[in-house]
């Protein structure tokens, strides 16, 4: 059933009220009785031996409860932070997987590596005492970037990783690809860098750990996208405490974008410190601390080659990528440049041959892991820059070249050369819709108008695909994942018919409290006002794998639907009894059980009441109560896709690029709440435009970070962005019960190459052929100047 509140309705968000009233409860808002505060002392050096830590003065300072070091971590037997995904080398051997202690022990390996923790009765006292801790470092040479880390004789981040290589992996068919290139009429080559960015959720990470000695129980409040995974890793690997003694709560979380998926050292440290000092211990990152302790994203250097026949049909793709891992392997880090990147290199195109090699490299920098899109933006950027270059070199129109190579609707399910099988899509439809939304036909006129104002106008596009809801568990397990990737849900119908849903996904901006309630309204006919969605608490929710990779609706929503199906089925048996009919004759429709072909019915609420007050009840065959759980393990990824167009105006005197128009058409599957789906697209677009024009984490060759604050790291502000034109064309996912695909990442995936293609389109008449992200004013100005010089102008 669909209703005014069901699937497809743009109802307003249920969660908004508490945020708008200032009543949200984020981790740092929670202050426990007898609260104490932790400050971490972090290495100022990219690489240094920790020779001595003298904490005597700090320990004597007012309010100080403890100063803890890597020695204490080792002495107390805490485990190292594990990596959740093991990638194999080409020869089948395992990747290098170095240790990752909660506090650096013996050696610090990046700026920001935590070396000691001060716990005091207030944050101010902890900060003051931290200045009194005397740490004697022996500074070593470090390497902060891929070119230096892979150079001959580079300093080694880990002795066990020669050449700083973590793994050397490949996918596809090298021989088939070589053969394709051998018969190519045209080969396009491109070298590119996918710039390193900082996720910068507006809420800095925080953790508040509380050990209750009376019942030997630990509680952790943390800024996490997946509290159950955090609990699992704490229990099994780091804190060594069983799950039944450990509760992890991720309350309101102020954005994640990937950076809050991972199990971070601070989560372990506050629990451990609480046990040691006997008080709750809270740590909240300063923003400058976040820059050197949150996992970053992207950071690839790639060489790409595209083989085409004389008509522009793609014959083969060859890719070689270096991927920066940072100094330690974060939870999902190895999966990002492999199974979330190289497997997407076919894009929306029919490629007969692909071969990709990926070398993951350690550097003396903070870890690199999943950031909005995670691998898929890197694949899309490579492919769409390459295709655009191909259009330019062959003289085939950019739209036409893509049309010739897009997978046709009749080809689904489509098996790519890089493992994935796309279930469904209609790339031509999203292309056509995007062309209409940008008014492609009217571009020449807009170009002329810009020129009349002294501006260089350019248009750029990308046609992209992404993969959401990483699954199924059996497949990812074979590929090296050390966890399952299903989702869990529990649906509890209360005696008077209201509903509580417990979901293992986590909402930190996505609006699950609204969209999941819409599923209930849709299936049960219960008003969303009478539905509560509970997430983010391991004691209340059976289990869960959290929210990332745009998986919540497709995997988490499907688990809820599965539980709802069980509820409806059980209700049928109760209704059959109440209506004195056979179960086979009962149908559930519009919120009521009906005897088919009659006007006899029982409202859902009446059936729920009977389940809890079973006076007239089929007690011999049906248990009382109305509550069901389900675990859903998807059969495949989902594959959203679409076309993004961007128009820019460039001020040739200053090099400033202004994004003047963005029009996109996505296929994100069935849409539960169009308002929320559009909002997700907007946010992704802003981050994608941020990567293309504004953002870059700048490490120098030695590993010093030069722009680790909001004074220097630039993110788009309101005045930097236009209104976005967002359209959708729906093909329903074939293998999940809702037909949904996922929307959280599409903007960040599709738009960066469209921006850069637009910039290059604007600059092409001047002779500019390449520019890297972010296309800053100075870079654009230099490119223009160099092109002029090259022309002898």
């Amino acid at each position: 059933m669909s209703s005014a509140q069901g699937i497809g309705a743009s109802i307003k968000r249920k969660e908004d009220r508490r945020f708008l009233l200032g009543k949200g409860q984020y981790t740092d808002d929670i202050t426990l009785p007898d609260q104490s505060y932790a400050v971490l002392i972090r290495s100022p050096y990219a690489a240094a031996l920790i020779k001595k830590i003298d904490a005597a003065a700090a320990l004597a300072a007012p309010g100080v409860l403890a100063v803890l070091t890597g020695d204490d971590v080792a002495a107390d037997g805490l485990g190292g932070i594990p990596c959740g995904w093991a990638v194999k080398n080409k020869d089948g051997s395992n990747m290098v997987e170095p240790p990752h202690p909660g506090l650096a022990h013996g050696k610090a390996r990046h700026v920001g590596d935590p070396v000691a923790m001060v716990v005091a009765s207030s944050k101010a006292l902890a900060k003051a005492a931290a200045k009194l801790v005397d740490i004697d470092y022996d500074v070593l040479p470090g390497c902060g970037r891929l070119p230096e880390a892979t150079a001959e004789g580079a300093p080694l981040v880990w002795d066990q990783a020669p050449g700083n290589v973590c793994f050397d992996w490949h996918i596809g068919d090298a021989a088939l690809t070589d053969a394709a290139f051998a018969k190519a009429a045209h080969v396009v080559e491109l070298d590119l860098v996918n710039n390193r960015v900082a996720p910068n959720a507006m809420e800095p990470r925080a953790a508040n750990g509380h050990y209750a000695a009376a019942n030997d129980h630990y509680t952790l409040y943390t800024t996490s996208q997946n509290p159950h995974l955090t609990r699992l890793l704490l229990a099994a690997f780091t804190l060594h405490v069983s799950e039944h003694k450990l509760r992890v709560i991720a309350p309101d979380v102020g954005g994640g974008f990937g950076s809050k998926i991972f199990h971070y050292a601070e989560e372990l440290l506050v629990l451990w410190a609480s046990r040691r000092v006997g008080r709750p211990v809270k740590w909240t990152a300063d923003r400058s601390e976040a820059f050197i302790s949150d996992a970053h994203g992207r950071d690839h250097i790639s060489k790409a080659q595209l083989a085409m026949d004389k008509d522009g049909k793609f014959l083969g793709l060859r890719v070689h990528t270096l991927a920066n891992m940072g100094a330690y392997l974060s939870t999902f880090a190895p999966a990002v440049p492999t199974y979330l990147y190289a497997t997407l290199l076919s894009g929306p195109y029919d490629f007969p041959a692909i071969y990709a090699e990926v070398k993951a490299i350690f550097t003396n920098t903070v870890a690199v892991d999943a950031y909005r899109g995670a691998g898929r933006p890197e694949a899309t950027y490579l492919l769409e820059r390459l295709v655009e270059k191909a259009a330019r070199e062959t003289g085939i129109d950019r739209v036409e070249l893509r049309r010739r190579n897009l997978i046709q609707p009749s080809q689904f399910p489509y098996q790519t050369q890089v493992a994935l099988q796309y279930d469904i899509g209609d790339y031509q439809a999203t292309l056509d819709l995007a062309l209409a939304k940008i008014d492609y036909a009217g571009y020449a006129q807009r170009h002329a108008a810009s020129a009349a104002n002294g501006k260089l106008r350019g248009i750029g596009m990308s046609t992209y695909i992404e993969a959401c809801g990483i699954a199924p568990s059996a497949l990812v397990g074979a590929l090296g994942a050390r966890a399952g990737l299903y989702e869990a849900a529990n649906v509890r119908i209360h005696p008077t018919g209201s509903v509580t849903v417990f979901t293992g996904t986590h909402s930190h901006g996505q609006g699950h409290e609204t969209t999941f309630a819409q599923l209930i309204a849709d299936r049960l006919g219960v008003s969303t006002d009478n539905v509560e969605i509970v997430h983010g608490d391991t004691d209340r929710i059976p289990f869960g794998m959290g929210t990332y990779g745009s998986r919540s609706a497709s995997v988490g929503g499907s688990a809820i639907v599965k539980a709802l199906d069980k509820i409806v089925d059980k209700g049928k048996k109760i209704a059959a009894h109440l209506l004195e009919a056979s179960v086979a004759d009962i149908e559930f429709r519009d919120g009521a059980y009906r005897v088919v072909g009659t006007d006899r019915q029982k409202a859902f609420g009446e059936v729920a009441f009977a389940a809890y007050v079973p006076h007239n009840y089929p007690i011999d065959t049906v248990e009382p109560g109305l509550e069901e759980s389900a675990f859903y393990d998807p059969k495949n990824f989902t594959f959203p896709g679409g076309t993004h167009f961007v128009e820019v105006e460039i001020d040739p005197e200053t090099g400033v690029v202004e994004v003047v128009d963005v029009a996109i058409a996505d296929d994100v599957g069935v849409i539960i709440n169009p308002m929320i789906v559009d909002g997700q697209a907007h946010g992704g677009l802003a981050q994608g435009i941020g990567q293309a024009l504004y953002e870059e984490v700048q490490y120098d060759a030695d590993g010093q970070l030069s722009n680790g604050s909001y004074m220097t790291y630039c993110m788009p502000r309101a005045a930097d962005l236009p209104m976005f034109k967002v359209g959708n064309h729906v093909t329903a996912c074939t293998h999940n019960p809702l037909g949904v695909k996922g929307v959280g990442e599409v903007g960040a995936i599709g738009v960066p190459p469209a921006v850069i293609n637009a910039v290059l389109d604007a600059l092409a008449p001047l002779g500019v052929k390449d520019i890297s992200m972010p296309a800053t004013p100075e870079k654009v100005w230099r490119a223009i100047a160099a092109a002029k010089q090259g022309k002898g102008a």
Binding site: E653, T654, Y694, Q698, S706, N707, Y710, M711, T712, Y713, C714, M715, D720, T776, P777, E778, W781, R782
Partner: protein, 264 residues
């Protein structure tokens, strides 16, 4: 942030008296420059003497051929003042482009001037308009006021009370802002005054400076094209990840032209 004694005088005389003998004391006005510095522990004053209770420093008045703006007037108040908009609209526009609305609501002219940040906007106006900085002790010419990176002619304990801006015939400011901090990477104020053309550049060097070649060219013809072909050397200019010295040198030319165009 290290703790300090806090004082809130209501007159200039009281403020100056409080400062006497306190080597580690600092005046505090809107705090939009000083507090970020204190939060990063880059300074640890023993005393902060707040000026925000001194009503006499909040006045904007026209004094003959000059506009006198009290040290405690906020950037927002300058931007919105009818007098400033009427007599020196370029100054109102400059003030309206400092930082962001929250900064403009707290930040003051006097605080900005005393902080002498090489990337602040006001120094360009002070130098280009030939303003005079009034203190509790004396009046300091614009040419003498800014002496170096975060350094001014102010003696220890000396308090900026007002700035007197001679009303120019025409003046305008063009800024190329750092995209993250919004401070000026290059800000150029151009003024056509009764004593000639003045071009002042902030953000690009260790302190605000004039460009005589541009002034000479504009004296011959006060139009943007007059600046064509004039280049500023990148030597001694600031360079950072956001803009190299060469790019800043280039931007000085572009922003100067735009400022002149805005004067037309």
């Amino acid at each position: 942030m290290k703790d300090f004694q806090f004082h809130r005088p209501t007159t200039v005389a009281e403020a100056v008296a409080l400062m006497a003998g306190k080597d580690g004391a600092k005046f505090l006005s809107g705090g939009q420059s000083l507090l970020p510095v204190l939060k990063l522990d880059l300074a640890e004053p023993t005393d902060l003497i707040s000026l925000t209770g001194i009503a006499e420093l909040r006045e904007i008045r026209v004094d003959g051929q000059a506009l006198v703006i009290g040290a405690l007037v906020t950037h927002d108040a300058v931007a919105r003042s009818a007098d400033v908009r009427k007599h020196i609209p370029g100054l109102a526009a400059l003030a309206g482009g400092i930082g962001d609305p929250q900064v403009r609501n707290r930040g003051t002219l006097g605080g900005s001037v005393a902080h002498a940040d090489p990337s602040a906007d006001y120094p360009a106006a002070i130098l280009a308009l030939g303003a005079t900085v009034h203190t509790n002790l004396r009046k300091i010419d614009a040419e003498e006021f800014f002496t170096g990176l975060f350094e001014s002619a102010l003696a220890p304990g000396e308090l900026v009370t007002a700035v007197s801006f001679p009303i120019p015939k025409r003046a305008a400011y063009a800024k190329f802002a750092h995209r993250a901090s919004k401070y000026a990477l290059v800000g150029v104020m151009v003024a056509l005054t009764s004593s000639g053309v003045r071009v002042a550049v902030t953000g690009a060097g260790a302190k605000v400076f004039r460009v005589s070649a541009m002034e000479d060219a504009l004296t011959k013809g006060f139009v943007p094209e007059a600046l064509s072909g004039i280049t500023v050397s990148a030597d001694d200019l600031n360079g950072d990840a956001e803009a190299s010295a060469e790019f800043r040198a280039h931007l000085i030319g572009v922003m100067a032209k735009r400022a002149v165009a805005a004067c037309q």
